[in-house]
Subunit: 210 residues, 2 copies
């Protein structure tokens, strides 16, 4: 597998393929043609073939793809064929929505600990978890085997949250806070900002008017 060279755009599309394939499986489809899969994913079929080629040989001529097999292979390749334990920092509006989100565990991720520095929140129970002060992250991370940190603090607290995660030897970070963070190079960081999608829509509408 030459997966080190997989472009980021392919990873993004793989998430779409998994989503579509799992919906297909739920609806009872065991096999799907590459044309139908392409249509369902809103990409062209040569793109799908190219993306999947990074992970091995898939598809049977005249038949198509075996849905379950394809899901399993993509998940294995991405490293999401197991459960990743996550720590959430920031139990505000967005953090609470993430804690209540039902898809996490189904999709290979589990928020196992929730942290917030607000004294009014510390000690409260939320979705069966006690909210803890982030200073305890360092001792809880190895106990609970926490690997991924999710930051959902206000922007001015994001760096402090990142520092706690780094100190706790967390291996990767998703940042929902609208501000950049600095962490050592070996820790991958992903920023989630849905406003870039809103900007993109506004831009496309504006252009369409020209």
């Amino acid at each position: 597998m030459k997966s080190e060279h997989i472009p980021k755009a392919t990873i993004g599309r793989l998430a779409v393929y998994i989503q579509v394939l799992e919906n297909l499986l739920r609806d009872g489809n065991e096999v799907i043609s590459s044309e139908r899969l392409a249509r369902a994913c809103s990409v062209n079929s040569s793109q799908i073939r190219k993306d999947l080629a990074y992970f091995g040989e898939f598809g049977v001529r005249g038949v198509g793809y075996y849905v379950q097999e394809l899901i399993t292979s993509i998940k294995q390749s991405l490293g999401i064929d197991r459960l990743w334990k996550c720590a959430l920092i920031g139990v505000g509006n967005m953090g609470s929505a993430l804690l209540r989100h039902h898809d996490f565990e189904k999709r290979g991720f589990k928020i196992c600990a929730a942290f917030d520095c607000d004294p009014d929140k510390i000690g409260l129970e939320f979705e069966g978890m006690e909210i803890v002060c982030p200073t305890h992250l360092k001792e809880q991370a190895p106990e609970l085997n926490l690997e991924i940190g999710i930051i959902a603090t206000p922007p001015d607290r994001a760096q402090r949250a990142a520092n706690h995660l780094v100190e706790a030897n967390i291996r990767g970070i998703i940042n929902f806070a609208p501000s950049r963070i600095n962490v050592p190079k070996h820790i991958p960081v992903e920023y989630v900002d849905f406003f870039d999608h809103l900007y993109s829509i506004a831009f496309q509408i504006t252009l369409g008017n020209d």
Copy 2:
């Protein structure tokens, strides 16, 4: 302006530039060098220069960028120098978090109407808005001048929500539901799925282990 040809990756980075520039302005910075801006945005300075060149001539040699001017120009170019009125369909976990989100209006978007087909939710007041049945979208959209639709329904309801938005002549759609939707080609659609970021982190951690 040759903005029709602006690559999607540039749009994504513009959102980051705006975020960083607005934080700089809030902290009292009126001017910033391209090197410092690049560092703050985690990109290299030639990338920033290239991205900004799509929108005109910026930066003064030996001085850098005027922060407010740059924000204004980027927002103008993207069409976000005005307020976009949005309709939300689906007032569940994620939809509620979006309604409570304080950054929308600050960033040029305002959720002006909230729809849900759940009889237990219709008529309830939420963040000063009455939740309305989506069948009323068609009459409310022109009255309220709704332009962008935000779908935050469960996956199996996303297409129905999209149909309501299309019928109401909405001009663009953001889909938070984890399923694809079909709409006429002239309506731009953006999918927001933060699991592709989780997948990407899991993948990078897994690779780092090899």
